[in-house]
Symmetry: C2
Subunit: 224 residues, 2 copies
């Protein structure tokens, strides 16, 4: 979580203060992700920062507001990744595989994001619903997927009874599960889903899965 999460500092705030807020957010992200909302300790965040607890309340107002800022920061991060995906030159099949792999790559390298999403779901997305930014911006992720699927259906190579949200659901489910359920899975089955040795095959499998499902001839509208 060190990559490009910085926000533009407010005008009236000194460079040092902005830096300090960044530090707090960095540490808070780790603390919330590791312990959940109620389990996270503001004391602990302060202890791991160069600032004090008093300053955290000065900057962010409350534990909940701090958590919300953390949430918006990690959602902004995945938005940037999504916007960077280029699929112009690819066939619908290749594009689908690339989108699936990009999601797999993001989630497997951003464990804290997945943990925060899990935590947010435990709390019925009550905080997320307070953030107009996330709700407005992050839904756009599927427009790319919509275009790819529409093209594939038009070309007669994709089934037409599964929409973009369904595909997004399948991709996210697979990619999330590797990270979100890593520990219970490893405890019961003795296999670490994030073992680097397994990642290439898991990365291929998500592409296979999505492509095979969408191209399944038994469900295709137009049989060639």
């Amino acid at each position: 979580m060190t990559d490009q999460l910085s926000e533009v500092p407010d005008e009236g705030v000194t460079r040092r203060a902005a830096r300090s807020q960044e530090d707090i957010l960095e540490v808070a992200t780790a603390e919330f992700a590791a312990n959940g909302y109620a389990g996270a300790r503001v004391d602990e965040i302060a202890a791991r920062t160069r600032t004090t607890k008093r300053m955290i309340y000065y900057y962010f107002g409350s534990k909940e507001a701090l958590y919300l800022t953390v949430l918006e920061r990690v959602y902004a991060q995945i938005r940037r990744v999504e916007r960077g995906i280029q699929i112009d030159e690819l066939s619908p099949t290749e594009a689908l595989r690339k989108l699936a792999e990009a999601t797999y790559d993001h989630h497997t390298t951003h464990e804290m994001f997945i943990q925060l999403v899990s935590i947010e779901n435990i709390h019925r997305a009550e905080h997320l619903q307070q953030s107009e930014t996330i709700l407005r911006e992050n839904a756009t992720a599927i427009t790319l997927l919509e275009q790819v699927i529409e093209r594939g259906v038009r070309e007669g190579i994709f089934r037409d009874d599964v929409d973009a949200l369904d595909v997004h659901m399948m991709i996210s489910a697979y990619a999330c599960f590797h990270v979100a359920n890593r520990h219970t899975f490893a405890a019961i089955f003795k296999r670490d889903m994030l073992d680097p040795a397994l990642q290439p095959s898991h990365r291929r499998l998500i592409g296979d899965m999505i492509v095979a499902t969408m191209a399944d001839r038994r469900n295709r509208r137009t049989v060639p």
Copy 2:
């Protein structure tokens, strides 16, 4: 979570006491699932039971021990479902679909189980690892899947580079996601994944997905 979760009461405990402990566990399951481990309140559990807070500590010793009992109870429940699945008469393809649908059915009707698994993952499965029962018994879920896949590979209709744990992972990922990420998904994309109107198609989709992936001819060892 009203179905058959009862444990056999200890010998020295009266019928009334056993019933009281069942009540506590029922309510505790809901409380932990809804608020996470740290967010759950023993006061609240006591308030929603006919017993008192003092009795909860008398019966279970600590909040953590209570949570562990809750966890073992829901894992015992899914074990019973898994053991009840019959696939003797089915082809490998049909068996795979049936197993996928059974998992989908269980998870979508046991929201609290999925929430508790999420919570447990937030805490790096530290509690789950203390339960020899869960670790010993729940790994057996894949033996059925192993047999089906071995048969399918032998008959040349399944690819042979995806093992039973991988398939279990795909099935669980899909089924878990519907429940675990329901709220963030609904908030962002305005679609409730557990909407009863969508369930038949989602139920078909998980079967299609698993069957298509395993039968994908481009990855099959023996091309017919």
